[in-house]
Amino acid sequence: MIYILTMLALLVSLSHASYAEEISFHGFLQGNLSARITGEETNNPIESGDFLSGEEKLRGEVTGSSGNSDFALKIDFVHDSISDEDRIDLREGYIDYRSTNFDIRVGRQIITWGAGDLLFINDIFPKNYSALFSGQPLEYLKIGSDAAKISAYSDIVSAELVIMPFFEPYTFPDPERFFLYSPMMVKGEDVPGKELDNTEIAIRLYRQVGRFDTSLYVYKGFYKIPGMKPLSSTEAALFYPELSVYGFSMQGYFANGVLSLEGGYYDSMDDKDGDDPTITNSTARYIAGYSKQLWTDFTASAQIYGEYMQEYDKYEDSLLSLPPGFPKTDRLHQLITIRFNQMLKYNTLRLSLFSFYSPDDEDYFIIPEVRYNITDSMWTTVGLNIFGGEDSTTFFGQLGKNDNLYATIRFEF
């Protein structure tokens, strides 16, 4: 309802405005290719063979402003060379209204919260892990939310309220193109319906505390990673249980570097007792990260991420009721990440390495990458996505056969 009212209010205010004052056009042309280098072929070699992605993309961006309002439209026209299909993606498309102490943004918009680097707790906004795993430019890990965002500012505390009427789960790799583990055959998906009751709400309150950027978060909505409900002994349906998150984040200067701390309580609303094996148990999650420049133009960062399950005994008991094949998770699941970044040749050449490692799952994901700015308007990246682990049932372990080499070239205009 608030969404509709805001839309109406905006339309009325905009009907008086004209965007003739300032309009600008920009965009890019991009080619991106990612090929599996393990030699393994999926069950459907005709679909993709060795290729995980192969796309030509034309981005058009139009922005305009008039008085207190402005708009942005960012559209990707994509040709998928693997399937030989064309598609149009609305990357972002929103209208802003600005006032002295508050702003409103309505439409598809990318929102990023939290203090993690490729790790998220309080950022529950849509993501595309398929893009990350197949070496697309990092920005494509994030997807726009169709939302209304109201921001209020004051000296004491500022706030953001995001209202998302349409549920958008995280995008995971397509089994047609990736080797993935599934304990059961997936038959169907039960997505929260387009009903007002299913509107997701996310709130962030923030201010500076000392030299730290500090935020508090509340989210009411759904898990973005699906659970599996068995339909028979071999088949299951995906579904998205209700979730509330309460969390905080802090980021600031500490001992010649940047310290990042984030925490959140994932309250599993559909399984408060923790005895439903198909629903993720409530967890306490945390990130502690530190980043420091070790020498000129070289930065090193490390993070530790953890998920601590609340009702572990009940989870263990409930596993017995599931068909065999569902992997058992530890009470504490942790990830360690390392990032190295070296800039060379007047910042035109960047060597980077990002790696995930889980000491309990014993799996890893390593991304070495070289980026070179050929000219001011053209850059290219070449990198590797290397996955693996002790078991083929863990998050990164299941991707072990998908090691890939990727390359991107982009011309900006």
Binding site: L141, S151, R211, D213, Q293, E412
Partner: protein, 264 residues
């Protein structure tokens, strides 16, 4: 014996009269005044900045940005930098809270994913956006970081100047810097950097100094790396002082949504 004393007295006296000793006390003061004239003019500043980076082979790269600066208490400052070009950084904003005597706070806004994050690059000698200028060259070096020596009085392009030698107290990539500071405006007109081998490797030149709102303003400057043949020319266009920037410009709100009124 008395003859010897007289000789010593004469030597001592003439030494005391030499400019080196005469100005020994105030070399630091001159640098202080120079920093004030160069990095702190006005209560605030707004400028459109065009940087041209030229490589040894003549290949050029351009960076265009808007720089907003506000002086806070003491020698603390706030900077807001918005990038207009090149395309891969268009819309990116960079914010610095600069403190005297302690490390800066630095933020970066990446528009493609609407992310505001702190950045860990602490090293003030790092290149500023890939140019021959370092962060320090843009926002000033801590006055306590160097020892200063008055070398001589001189003239440069017909202007009377103080020539000051600065030596870093802790190791950095240069061991000595010679500055030619305009006696009238205290603007550094030229600076030479000497590397650890003692040879000249970088030269700063204030090529054009205008007067804006009654204050001297370097509107064109270059930094040339003699050894690599790389050069950066920086032109400040539409520079204005005392425009009335408020503190709230330097906040997360405007990092995410740059203040159009000021960045055009």
């Amino acid at each position: 014996m008395s003859k010897y004393l007289v000789l010593v007295s004469i030597i001592l006296f003439s030494y005391m009269l030499s400019p080196a000793l005469l100005h020994a006390e105030d070399a630091t003061d001159i640098v202080k005044k120079s920093q004030n004239a160069f990095f702190y003019p006005g209560k605030d500043m707004q400028a459109r900045v065009k940087m041209t980076l030229t490589g040894k082979t003549g290949q050029q790269r351009l960076r265009e940005l808007t720089m907003l600066r506000k002086n806070s208490d003491g020698s603390d400052q706030k900077y807001f930098i918005y990038f207009h070009s090149p395309g891969d950084v268009r819309g990116t904003s960079f914010m610095v809270y600069k403190y005297s005597g302690k490390d800066d706070d630095r933020w970066l806004f990446i528009p493609a994913i609407n992310l505001v994050t702190r950045i860990a690059s602490r090293d003030s000698r790092s290149s500023f956006v890939g140019s021959d200028f370092t962060y320090e060259d843009v926002s000033g070096r801590d006055i306590e970081s160097d020892n200063y020596k008055y070398v001589r009085e001189d003239t440069l392009d017909g202007k009377p100047v103080h020539v000051i030698e600065s030596t870093p107290k802790s190791s950095t990539e240069y061991i000595k810097k010679i500055s030619w500071i305009d006696k009238a405006t205290y603007i550094p007109l030229k600076e030479e950097y000497y590397d650890v081998q003692g040879s000249l490797y970088k030269v700063f030149t204030a090529e054009k100094v205008d007067t804006v709102g009654g204050l001297p303003a370097v509107t064109k400057r270059t930094m040339s790396n003699i050894k690599s043949g790389h050069k950066t020319e920086v032109v400040f266009e539409n520079i204005s002082y005392n425009v009335g920037l408020s503190d709230d410009i330097f906040s997360e709100r405007y990092l995410r949504k740059p203040p159009e009124k000021w960045i055009k």
